[in-house]
Symmetry: C2
Subunit: 136 residues, 2 copies
């Protein structure tokens, strides 16, 4: 990549490709998003961490078999650390709001996922405001 | 580091130092766990992602000001990706069970955190078994 800003733009493009694969239920496209050369780690919301490409891809096939979910993302922000791209973003999954960390390595001329960790955002941290009555 | 296994052992030692700082409420030790040279990112359970060392340290001071929590960790597993150490583990925080991803870079002869993301484990994924009645 020619510059840090080009890295950042490309990382956000890769992040979008991941959510497009997710939203369209495309297991082949999801597979293509993930690194083939590095160890991968994935923590779905509420799940135990999953290590290893085969196990991570099996988890995605299981999730995508439930049908394409209504998921979109926003608030992408990138930090490049030792050539590894850390993307944080908000996920909007049906009625739930989550936050995700997606980590990419540069592999075969594009950013590939080595890590995904998504988890629910507390209602009172929701950037669109609380969707239930506040506790106090 | 002389070998991958030494890297792995040292990453687990750094992971333990992080939870020791957390458990003892030692803000100075917590500060020492985090990288001073790389951009850092921290997602506390239910919170929005926090970018930047100053902001992340402020969040830890806020958390530790509530008093040292009863926290322990287990199931540490390390993946080294492009010289960056990804540690997944289970957190036992008072009555809650969480999962965490802690990512470290090698800096000044030890592993330093650049990323922490912790989130609740679903009751039915709890490795000690469900703590409430199963839904079915």
């Amino acid at each position: 990549m020619s510059s840090e800003s080009a890295d950042v733009r490309a990382a956000l493009t890769a992040n979008d490709a991941f959510y497009t694969a997710f939203r369209t239920g495309d297991a082949s496209a999801m597979d293509a998003c993930w690194s083939k050369s590095e160890p991968v780690l994935c923590t779905h919301p509420g799940w135990l961490p999953i290590h290893g490409r085969q196990e991570v891809m099996q988890s995605w096939r299981q999730i995508l078999a439930n049908g394409p979910p209504s998921i979109r993302w926003s608030d992408g922000r990138v930090a490049i650390v030792r050539g590894v791209a850390f993307v944080s973003c908000t996920e909007w999954l049906m009625d739930a709001t989550l936050v995700a960390t997606n980590v990419f390595v540069w592999e075969e001329a594009s950013w590939k996922l080595v890590h995904h960790h998504a988890s629910p955002l507390s209602q009172d941290m929701n950037p669109e405001g609380p969707t239930r009555d506040p506790l106090h």
